[in-house]
Symmetry: T
Subunit: 148 residues, 12 copies
């Protein structure tokens, strides 16, 4: 269990297709766009004086590189790996290199979806997992890092 850490720098990573959020299948993913989520995260981080770095990539390799950078540049990682949740050992290995809190977030409850979405490689490197709360899950992840 991650203790609250009052992080100075939080890296929020988003996996493939999350840049399309809010444009289709709102019954699965909600109406918020990724920009909406970023703004809400910034609004949460700003008053706490946290430096929030919010990124998205469709490239597994780019996500791996960003996670590696977090070794130097971040105090915590919040990650929604999207489709790579289920297929990327490379992201798992990158996260295993970190010794800061890693919070895994999923917009939908993946356990209610197709069987191939039930397994997460990323969970094996995550401190905590939050799924099924839509955009709010990101704020819950940030709040978990706060000294409440």
């Amino acid at each position: 269990m991650p203790a609250p850490i009052a992080p100075k720098r939080v890296l929020v990573l988003n996996g493939p297709n999350l840049n399309m959020l809010g444009r289709r299948q709102p019954e699965v993913y909600g109406h918020d766009t990724l920009e909406d989520i970023r703004d809400a995260c910034v609004d949460f981080a700003a008053p706490r004086g946290w430096d929030l770095d919010f990124r998205q990539s469709n490239h597994e390799g780019e996500l791996v590189s960003w996670i590696q950078e977090a070794r130097e540049n971040a105090d915590a990682v919040v990650i929604n790996p999207a489709a790579y949740t289920h297929t990327s050992v490379a992201i798992l290995d990158a996260l295993l290199l970190l010794d800061i809190p890693v919070i895994e977030v999923h917009l939908s409850n993946i356990h209610k979806r197709e069987a191939f979405r039930h397994h997460s490689f990323v969970s094996q490197a995550a401190s905590g997992v939050i799924c099924g709360f839509g955009a709010k899950g990101y704020l819950m992840a940030l709040a978990s890092l706060d000294s409440m």
Copy 2:
């Protein structure tokens, strides 16, 4: 995704062995006792004017009955099913009878533990799932119900 509902009455259910919390394996479950968690939950609920009903049982059947009561007496359910997470279709069926938010909480990240703890029947009836945050997970569950 459950919308914030500003619930009047929240039922918090705890499964088998959680009454022993804090007495052993703190590296897995943390140092908080179940009483500590109840108190923290009450502290969260009181200022919001919520009626918080916090229970624990080692009996699958009793948990089923309590969930059934929630149809009449609660606006939301937070449940840490503990060992019954993995074996109880009866609890799943009881939860499927509800049409209020159901938040599943696990103290530890069950995906990092033995393989038989990776599967949750309860997740198929949960609005959202929170795992790996220790005692704080209960407050995150309550907060998810709040109109932030």
Copy 3:
């Protein structure tokens, strides 16, 4: 195949959540409540001079105990084990102790539902199985015991 036995005493057992019958998911389970079913069963048994004992429990252990009592107190058992169908070796073992007819009843056709509902431990101890006929299945079970 059970021969018709013109039983004096029939024990009808109902598993978890069946006390909620008729209150939700009528498209799966029908509109009858468990009380309606009990009344229909009594109406069937009374003119035949049968003693009908109709019970429900959410507790696996209580169902086990009731089945044990049937060794002394019943000539036949009709059982709808609900969720325990799929998970209870204890109920199977209790039924294996009996040498009277055991009829397994399911309201819905469990073979059309989720994969984990396809397997029944109870069927290994049942004389006959009836599923998918809704409340009427109970009467069919009773009728199977009658000397038509």
Copy 4:
């Protein structure tokens, strides 16, 4: 669940080897011949004014064709698919073309037999399933169609 339909025309179909009924393995299938069962079914149907069409085939394709005819010529189908229960997607597909009640009957409790007999393709298209009651199962199937 099929509502009682007081059918005018009922098609009763029997799969491979059922023409040999009563000649061997009575401990599994009982002593009744298929002719005995047909007669009992006719005796049930006649006073109700139902037209009962009772057939047997060893040919999967012939059973498929007969099921197709039921679209025009029957109000309900009772089927004991015997060995084709476990192997015939073609019979399943034919049954899926119907919108009348389909009752699946097995003489023995298939769940107590070899593992390959536990799975039924036909159950995915059946309204209800009756197994383990021997020849009486056919009459129970017919009775399920009756307005009791």
Copy 5:
């Protein structure tokens, strides 16, 4: 990959239940009847001077025999094996006896349907597979044989 062969004689085979096409489940199989498809195929073949033999059977054995005849009487086979796709080793073995192009056609995208429809024995003997294009798939199969 089959080279275009400008065949003189094409055998088009249809498996069980395809004679019922267009009468039910149009959302799965489309509105065309098998007669419509035959006519469209003939319209395609006629101007090219091909002899088109279009058949349907519910019998696995009859389909096997027809495939065997193709050794003498056809230059190409187009086959929609329907339900036998998933269960018939006999049809696979018959097709393996041919040394002419064999095109497998499915009206619906079988990979989107139940798991037991994902596996095709026939594909192991097919030159090419076309699925999900409805009735048009037959014409695509014929066109693949043409010298475009």
Copy 6:
């Protein structure tokens, strides 16, 4: 183990595609045609005064019916079920009705071929199994019935 029975009447059954024997894939099945095999069997049976009935069918149902007839008309069955070996519960059930020796023959060693050819339903009803000896396997099956 079947004792030698000096049978008066032997039924030799051949499954789908065996009528094409010798016309293709001689490296798998040998050069003999089914007629060659029949002749060799007759040559074996004649001097022993046995009545040999040698048949082939592509129809599972027809094979089932022929096996049923063997109850009246044969003292032993030799069967090469070909593709139905792996898929036909109906043939298995028909063979289970017999109480005479049943010898299963395969031309090729099915254990060296594709995985789906390794399992035989028929073996569960066979007295003995002979595979991999080509056409000679039929004669070995007949010889096994002889009082050597």
Copy 7:
């Protein structure tokens, strides 16, 4: 391996249906009743000055609670979990809370019975396992705690 501990207090727990012991299936479970076994255990414990607490329950939850109590009230646990052996993660979790010897006993050799009886959750928390010795197994368990 548990060292002999000359325990002051031993808790002997019995799972579902063991209260019926000796009344049926003696070929599987022997002729001793649970009372006979309790008496034999007391006879073993008394001369050694041990306090023996012998209980049976059909309720998984009650067994869980009793195991929890052992943290305060016992120096060793002997448990025959019966059917819950194979299904109860809750009992496993309760046993994992103990740091005293836990001996698992089964009357029959569960490895010779149905496949679902081969796996034991309880074994993962047991110091030692004894199975197949009938009632004598309880005394062997007690003797293993003694300083021989």
Copy 8:
């Protein structure tokens, strides 16, 4: 089934290693280079006035991005995902965002190759699938979009 749509803009996507086409393993993939295929596609599209955009990438993420663009810039997608067919949930998720026809093409008959090539994630989002026709499959895909 996609209706012919007479598309104005068609995006043809090619996955990893297809840029090497024609340079090795012609017995599997044929002799055509990817440039040959592009030219043939352009030749098909030009007279119909379609705008054809033909691309190849070895990067899963780039393919995902191109599919996303298709929401704005294309009326249909033809995709040969090559190796990503079997491993990419990200491409599946991107395709699920589209509401235009998606045709999946494979040069070889993947069902005849290694087992890990039999499963396609992409098929779950495809309108239709064409495999085993070599380079001609692309033209068949385009033709399927045409109003024949």
Copy 9:
């Protein structure tokens, strides 16, 4: 299919426990002792002028060595590998070194026994397999080598 080879030297190998043949479980293995079988084999071989070398070992390694010797000293191998049938890759590898006929013999029909006896490593190196004919199977194996 092995052609008849009129071998000069035949090696007959017997695996573990076959030295105990005839002393127990005659209902499975028959009443013949291994000496009886050897004598019958010699009686078969002698008039044909074959040199028959008949051995038994409980040691996997010894069987491997004997098979290796067959490269120099035998024209055919008949082997009943008994328990090693199911577990020995070493025997399989030794047999793969031979280029003479290898006939696998089993006294009982292994396909009717426990599941772990259904798979044979040895069959992957055998020319032919004979099972279920008891001691006679050895003579059938020898006869298969003869020019009938």
Copy 10:
């Protein structure tokens, strides 16, 4: 369940690597050497007048031969098959030839170790199984044969 038999001759067999006992991994296997265990067994047997034959072999075949000898020379077998527990059908088959009590002993609780150590072929022929008691398990096995 084996009745106490007051055996005259007990054969105690030890499988591969047990000759190295006490020299490494004492946390798994304890500090006793195999000689220590033999001495303790002799000390147990001597005062009872039993003839104890204690052996160890690394050879599967030698263990098989020793078990066969037990048919003539022993009244009971205690066996710790070590690694062969999980892989030897030959030892299972040898044990099945005996009709005297067979007690299987394991030093460690094999159910807590790697998955491939959970399955025991030997258990299918054992009267009783004792595991997890270290060297003491041998004495418990002997004691189980005694008339306590």
Copy 11:
């Protein structure tokens, strides 16, 4: 087995996260950085007059492209695919395009790690595999190409 080839140009490829080598988990991967390994490889290649091209990428697609280039620019490939070992069919397909030696290297013994790391797609295209020797494995790979 690759013959020594005295290559002029060797391409050494490193997969995701290997750029982080030496910075964490030295107990798994050793203390060498990737730069250290490159230098050691260059030191090995230089005196032999080989041109060594040493690269790392986190991108699956980039690795695929580099492998494709090797068709023109290299005489041998040494590859440590890291996480992509287990998930990349694209890299496998690229390697299958080469006809030069491919040596697969893993720093750790992947067979001792989590189950999902036991399977390698790459091994299906590798000439040889070296794992568990840490940084030295690269030199062993190079040495295997040398004419020793």
Copy 12:
């Protein structure tokens, strides 16, 4: 990873059938005989002053015994377990008793062969694994022990 150890004594063990090396299947195993390999190993060891003990056995038990001796007599083990790679827990257990480097060698790339050859019990006790380099793999194993 084993550090170079400049061993005084190296034990090189070879499993079943390796004594036949070079006599058959050179396309799989190469043309070298085991004597050739031994000579090459001696040539490598001699100038380094190592004592090389090179053995082969077809007996699993003998290999186990030799590995046990290595505790006293060797500083490193190189082992090619051949067929026992896949089936021997006994060899694994013997290797686990050692605390010296263990290098596993396979002549062929076992991952390209039949599925049952992909799993190695031995790898769980090996420091490093080398496969697919033919006879050269032995020298690579020795070189890995050297201080290069």
